[in-house]
Amino acid sequence: MNNKRDSLFDNFITTYFDNLWTNSGYLDLMGKNLDLFFNAKKQWNKNMENILALLQLPNQTMQQKILHSLNTLIAEYRFENEEMKERIGQLEKELKELKAKSLKTK
């Protein structure tokens, strides 16, 4: 009895939400609401930037872009630096081996 009731309940919930999530009217409405919210937030961000610009202070976008560029450059520099060290290490090893070989042949 309990199982049957649970199953009916699950079916009801599943059907209800499956219909809701695939209802184009509902999705249109939610999409429009999201756009309204995002546009309002964008306007707020822009106003804040203008205020900071008036005060000759860097805004959030500028700071983020600079930090992102720094992160990218540091990652590239560290990677290339490590790669170069590894290659130099390998070349030194090969050179040592060649030297040892040439000493033996002499």
């Binding site: 964008k42 990652a75 560290r78 990677f79």
Partner: protein, 336 residues
């Protein structure tokens, strides 16, 4: 004295324990590449595991009973796990293209150097799509590809395809307004897909809360499910626009920088793993990789279970682990 039931008590006291001992072989920005260091090397093919960017990496190293990372390392495979880390506001400017041309390029190079041979790429969910895109651009950089519940034909991605439809969602609008995509947004989206299942899950947990083993496994998974990370805005914007909305990878029109990411260019051995009851990546959305890949040596396997259950369920996990292990061992003997 007032005592709590085991379930709420466990919820309040839960702390995740690390499973496999690791060393960090490479890091940049927030990303780390972890290498399992619990066993000596055996000369087997190295594996680089790439999880989705929306979740924590430890789904692949969940607990002692369910860790693909641990099990494969114990079988002697040198294994590496990519931890994308937690994006902070400035990472909003990272792009999908950057991930392939810069980040993954460096990660694969590091793993190849550390292991002494090209790795097999293993991607879970979005990580599988990313591994495939990467190898479609640079087909010589890996010795094999395994994808687990990875989406390819985004027009058949079920409800997710409807939610991300151009008519309802403008990804650039969201990113301009919020920067990174908040983890709550993604998390709520997944829960909303099957609300009845979510309720039933807690009901089962309440009923079985006296079973310590069950409760522990339940909390390990529940902790992971709720431990989402912000999705870097720029990456998400291009991911949604190019893959979900324009379906460019499936249409063979995806360009990453000046590289044509074409599945026809894939030539390494390929294993496609699909969950039959997956509601996040339905099987018809995952199957095209097998059909379209240029690899001559390709295999597709279907499993019972859903998107997360396939890797976290104690019942389903052994079959998945054995399939991967047998495939890797077979391929290692032939061509990897």
């Amino acid at each position: 004295m007032f005592t709590l039931s085991p379930l709420p008590e466990k919820m309040l006291s839960y702390q995740r324990k690390s499973v496999t001992p690791v060393e960090v072989i490479y890091s940049e920005n927030k990303l780390r590449v972890l290498k399992a260091n619990n066993l000596p090397e055996t000369g087997k093919a190295p594996i680089l595991m790439i999880p989705a960017m929306i979740n924590r990496h430890y789904i692949l190293d969940l607990n002692q009973e369910n860790s693909l990372f641990k099990e494969l390392s114990e079988q002697g495979f040198p294994i590496y796990l990519l931890d994308w880390g937690e994006a902070t506001p400035e990472d909003r400017w990272q792009t999908f293209t950057d991930i392939f041309l810069r980040v993954l390029k460096r990660v694969v190079a590091k793993v190849t150097r550390d292991a002494g041979q090209k790795p097999v790429l293993f991607g879970y969910c979005m990580g599988g799509t990313m591994a495939s895109i990467y190898l479609s651009c640079f087909p010589d950089e890996a010795s094999g590809l395994i994808t687990l519940t990875a989406p390819f034909d985004f027009s058949r991605a079920g409800v997710m395809a409807l939610w991300t439809d151009k008519k309802h969602l403008k990804p650039e609008n969201l990113v301009d307004a919020l920067g990174n995509v908040p983890p709550e947004m993604v998390q709520n989206g997944f829960v909303s897909l099957k609300p009845a299942k979510w309720l039933r899950k807690w009901e089962t947990a309440w009923k079985k809360q006296d079973n310590e083993k069950f409760l522990s496994a339940f909390m390990d998974l529940e902790n992971w499910v709720n431990d989402n990370v912000p999705f870097p805005g720029g990456v998400w914007q291009e991911y949604i626009k190019w893959l979900y909305q324009d379906n460019l990878f499936f249409k063979d029109e995806l360009m990453i920088g000046n590289h044509h990411a074409s599945l026809k260019r894939l030539k390494c051995p390929l294993l496609v793993l699909i969950a039959n009851e997956d509601h996040i990546v339905p099987k018809e959305c995952a199957e095209p990789l097998y059909e379209m890949a240029g690899s001559t040596d390709k295999t597709v396997k279907y499993f019972a279970g859903g998107h997360v259950g396939i890797i976290s369920s104690p019942k389903l996990f052994p079959e998945l682990r054995d399939t991967i292990s047998v495939w890797l061992t077979d391929k290692a003997n032939v061509s990897l």
